[in-house]
Symmetry: C2
Subunit: 337 residues, 2 copies
Amino acid sequence: MGRTLGLLACLALLGTSAFLVAAPGDPPIKVASPLASWRDTEAKKAITDFVVRVTVEESSDCVPPAERIAVFDNDGTLWPENPLPFQLAFALDELRRRLPDEPAWKEDPAVQAALKGDLPALLSDHYKGLFRIVELTGSGMTTVEFAHRVRDWFAAAKHPRFDRPYDQLAYQPMLELLQYLRDNGFKTFIVSGGGADFMRVFSERVYGIPPEQVVGSNARTVYELRDDGPVLVKTLDHLFVDDGPGKPVGIHQFIGRRPIACFGNSDGDLQMLEYTTIDNTRPSLGVIIHHTDAEREYAYDAKPKSSGKLVTALAEAPKRGWIVVDMKNDWAEIFTP
Amino acid sequence: MGRTLGLLACLALLGTSAFLVAAPGDPPIKVASPLASWRDTEAKKAITDFVVRVTVEESSDCVPPAERIAVFDNDGTLWPENPLPFQLAFALDELRRRLPDEPAWKEDPAVQAALKGDLPALLSDHYKGLFRIVELTGSGMTTVEFAHRVRDWFAAAKHPRFDRPYDQLAYQPMLELLQYLRDNGFKTFIVSGGGADFMRVFSERVYGIPPEQVVGSNARTVYELRDDGPVLVKTLDHLFVDDGPGKPVGIHQFIGRRPIACFGNSDGDLQMLEYTTIDNTRPSLGVIIHHTDAEREYAYDAKPKSSGKLVTALAEAPKRGWIVVDMKNDWAEIFTP
């Protein structure tokens, strides 16, 4: 690295101001405040104070960039999870699209429940019906074919309430937060119960998070060298559900070190919040996004509309020092205008 | 990113020369040639030609930095695998160290074979004995405890032939190659049959490869919140052996996109070489390190001394366009002097 480049890079890693560094002689380039859609409340201050604390080199709390790992839940944290988690909406649409070519599916109790929109039936008996739907619509094809189907769905489907393509519903304050953390030398990861193969189709384009930084539910593929090249066929073997106590397990398996910042919105993120913040040798930050805005988005915690139950983590927050973001009061914007 | 910083970063990504970029007014900073321990042979030329081809922006073959994924086998590719793969040497030393406290182990046939150094017995019946040794020495403890044991071992153990700590035996030409690729915008990953938890202890320090870019054999941990904080307990459940056809599976699971450059040394790397180079929509490079130097290191292929059998991949190399590195002739140095 050239000397000036090195210096600039160090400054960029340290910089938390609205001014980015230009070469001597250049006028300073003013960019938008990094968290423009956040109101100036306690939540924003807690986040920016933490980032300053771990990035100022003179401080004994400074964390080397390699260890600045930030993990984000996806559904309900980076985008909505209502009226259904978006991946479930995809699976149901896929079911309907493929049903004419798969007559045997009509006899399947899980398919019947799905077509009736009977969510309780799908979720009963340890999500047996739901896994069956995921199996039908997300296995037995190559990883490339699956990615095509997901891409086609995003291009065509719209959210029933907001009338936008699903991938245009990322929360604007969270997009700013992801960028702000990366600008301060953090590596941002998704750690979600959603399927890794599903999320990787859009994570780079929507969140700036590359596929290799997406930890999600997954199962083992099977390698085949076919006449038209090597493929990986999706199965549900060795299914790993990256939720609840599975999240620290996924973090260790895929990232291999403890995060210092964790963002979630439900009790499914409880263990990942614990793993990030309890007895960490580094300073750490835990943040819960609380859905409090029925007018602009949704309001729920103990009684979610689909997934996203939030009771234990919310009760633990004061004791653990986790920041609770009140969407209604702390966010000036919810979606990108 | 400031204007000058952006420009310099682009130049650095493009630069393949021995001169790195300095600010206007600074004298140019000359650094050592990036592949100083490689002789000027066809192998080196093939590698550098490929890197130039995929990094020159005007070229239609230019690959965006995000897709410049390079994968490296570890044992036999980045460091030796003789007289035993280093992780097996660790496991045997651990067995001996802990034996006085584990009297029941003495009755175990796998332990008896290991203590006698009876490698064929350990490897028979689909590696049953070997897995038993790995289970005894690498599960039933927390990930942090395991990492401590590995660290202690590296601090104390020495390679029987080279009389150096094992982690000082990385091949100097490969260290230069890793750095050269990173200097050209590549993200370097290990994809190895070795245990991920073992390799992550030294990968960043020795290879400059952070834990989150280490794909290896792994099994599921169990999360517990103990009085002294959250821990992950190692098990052998859902064991995944990241070797042979498992390597493309691991690449998809952990990285989520096809590499464009792959470096291996044995038939265990065959499928990863295929997955990288056959019908890739991007230009791609496959490289096999051929152990031909009995004097400075080891010479083997069809009849390896421990692991590392190389027959099929070597035979396929001409047809597939894979580069075969002849360690004796292509490398001026093997180890860091």
